[in-house]
């Protein structure tokens, strides 16, 4: 069976982003970019399914400007077989991204689509669920374990109260949580090999997606309320005294 893994190029998770002075957005000029960490987990899971003999092909797909081919190559170096780049100068909102991915699902007919649960830039946590809805597929979100059995996927999900396990009829959409696996690093020989793997670039217009102007408008982006560092206390007694008499929280 085929596994499709949509991935997103985002700011590196170690970078602390700054807001632009004119408050129109965050400043991403000259900032280190990388594959969204939850997408890395998705790629890793797909590759493990292939290594275990469950998947026959792993296809990575990304929507964005040419720079996102860098992350597609990373996916190929990690072990994906093939990549699809959907060329779009603007980053689509979550609904449009899901509509674009739905077209790729129609074309590729994967049995399983694995996505990250959220991207660490917009922190929306939406695309996987929206894609599942548009395709009419079941969803297993925030997965910490995935087991394939015949035409079903058993997904253990990280939920507020603990863990919940569901059985999904395939084809299905799964989104990854942090505990699903620990992604590998690409080795140099694999990075070299990835350069020769197929990467197909498609014009967004060629997909026939009905892209709507987004209903969402970002009016401004501001820095969060800042928090000043407080004081250092030298002992447990001093800490307790401050918490009782100054902060009055105990």
């Amino acid at each position: 069976m085929k596994v499709l893994v949509p991935i997103k190029r985002v700011i590196d998770y170690n970078v602390k982003v700054r807001v632009k002075a004119d408050q129109t957005d965050v400043d991403l000029a000259n900032v280190k970019m990388a594959m969204n960490p939850f997408c890395e987990i998705a790629v890793e899971e797909a590759i493990r399914l292939k290594e275990a003999g469950h998947a026959s092909e792993v296809v990575v797909v990304s929507i964005g400007p040419n720079t996102c081919q860098e992350q597609l190559r990373t996916g190929l170096a990690l072990g994906a077989d093939r990549a699809i780049h959907i060329i779009s100068d603007e980053m689509p909102d979550a609904l449009n991204a899901a509509k674009i991915l739905q077209k790729i699902v129609e074309k590729e007919a994967p049995q399983l689509v694995i996505l990250g649960k959220q991207s660490i830039d917009s922190d929306n946590n939406q695309t996987g669920q929206m894609l599942a809805a548009l395709c009419g597929y079941p969803q297993g979100t925030f997965a910490s374990k995935l087991v394939l059995e015949g035409d079903k996927a058993q997904v253990t999900r990280e939920v507020d109260g603990g863990l919940q396990t569901l059985s999904l009829s395939l084809p299905a959409v799964v989104t990854t949580d942090l505990r699903l696996n620990e992604p590998r690093y690409a080795t140099l020989p694999n990075i070299m090999k990835a350069k020769k793997k197929p990467l197909e670039a498609l014009e967004l217009g060629s997909l026939g997606v009905d892209i709507k102007a987004s209903g969402l408008k970002q009016l401004k982006v501001t820095p969060p309320a800042s928090r000043e560092a407080g004081i250092k206390v030298s002992s447990v007694d001093e800490l307790l005294e401050k918490l009782k008499n100054e902060a009055k929280v105990i």
């Binding site: 700011i11 700054r18 807001v19 965050v26 939850f38 979550a94 609904l95 660490i120 917009s122 922190d123 929306n124 946590n125 939406q126 996987g128 669920q129 929206m130 599942a132 809805a133 548009l134 009419g136 079941p138 969803q139 297993g140 979100t141 058993q154 990280e158 939920v159 507020d160 109260g161 603990g162 863990l163 919940q164 569901l166 059985s167 999904l168 009829s169 949580d177 942090l178 987004s214 209903g215 969402l216 408008k217 970002q218 009016l219 982006v221 501001t222 969060p224 928090r227 560092a229 407080g230 004081i231 250092k232 206390v233 030298s234 447990v236 007694d237 918490l243 902060a247 929280v249 105990i250």
Partner: protein
């Protein structure tokens, strides 16, 4: 204009988040209806009917809604939601699961995790792990919104309003419930506790988390953790505080053996008072802590417990 709130609940009881979502809804303005979709959920419905400013409670009581399967809940909400201007739910793992499905089926975007209501169509929400706050306006005909409950106050109790039964059963049969492993705890819920004490990688192992328990008992605190502590298997996943875990805003947050990565800060930096206990005086957690104690946690924790 009317607002539909999808209740967070445990069937017999309403989740604490729902009263906070009502606060967000009343700031938007308009009639407020609460939908309780569950199984044997009259208990939750009765509690919802007593929330101030709610005009009506709808109950869809069927085994199809027992496990809160996203496919079934979303199908129900889409059918009921078309008559509303806004559909709101808490940004819990349940709300995050079904709500984007609702939005896509209604062909609108979702506004995730709002922390304030600016007007009837404008909200603020954190992006980039809370390192920036976006103000977003929507022109969508139905606004689909998840609410970060820690940013709102629970509404008080009001007069009990009517409860209407909804006979719609949506059982799509796409997924089924296999089992669950819920963490049992007598302590307050992490997201509702007035005091939270969290341990990180510095705790070294699961056994040492017991050092936090005596303190939590004395302060009636919930216990949280960093991702590193969860990944290492010291504690279960539902204790993770942060960008991709739970968001807390208690009166007092005590971080023990936690370095203060941006992803952790995203989940707790709105606490009123932050205490950090860390042996590394340069740990970034001290940049947000009101009171920092540079010390070995293994000597501090027993002393703290004894002196409380």
């Amino acid at each position: 204009m009317a607002i539909l709130i999808i209740a967070e609940h445990h069937h017999q009881h309403l989740g604490a988040e729902t009263a906070k979502v009502v606060d967000a809804a009343q700031q938007i303005g308009g009639d407020i209806h609460v939908l309780v979709a569950g199984s044997n959920c009259q208990g939750a419905a009765t509690e919802a009917a007593k929330l101030a400013n709610v005009q009506k409670v709808l109950v869809a009581d069927d085994t199809a809604y027992q496990a809160q399967l996203a496919e079934n809940i979303a199908a129900l909400v889409v059918e009921l939601g078309r008559d509303y201007s806004h559909i709101l739910t808490a940004a819990t793992t349940s709300g995050k699961n079904f709500m984007p499905r609702v939005a896509a089926m209604l062909d609108v975007n979702q506004i995730s995790d709002i922390i304030s209501v600016e007007s009837v169509d404008t909200y603020t929400r954190p992006i980039y792990a809370g390192n920036a706050i976006a103000t977003v306006q929507t022109t969508d005909p139905i606004q689909v919104i998840t609410v970060r409950s820690s940013a709102f106050e629970a509404v008080s109790q009001g007069d009990e309003v009517p409860i209407e039964s909804i006979a719609l059963v949506k059982d799509l049969g796409l997924s089924s419930f296999v089992g669950e492993e819920l963490t049992k705890s007598e302590r307050p819920e992490l997201t509702a506790a007035r005091v939270v004490i969290s341990g990180g990688r510095g705790m070294q192992n699961a056994e040492n988390f017991k050092l936090l328990e005596g303190i939590a008992d004395r302060l009636n605190a919930a216990i949280g953790a960093s991702r590193a502590a969860v990944d290492a298997g010291f504690v279960p996943n539902d204790m993770q505080v942060g960008q991709t875990g739970k968001i807390v805003a208690p009166d007092l947050y005590i971080a023990v053996g936690i370095s203060g990565a941006i992803q952790h800060l995203a989940g707790m930096k709105d606490a009123k008072v932050i205490v950090a206990i860390n042996k590394d005086e340069d740990a970034p957690i001290f940049q947000v802590a009101d009171y920092g104690l540079v010390a070995d946690l293994f000597s501090v924790l027993p002393e703290l417990e004894q002196k409380l």
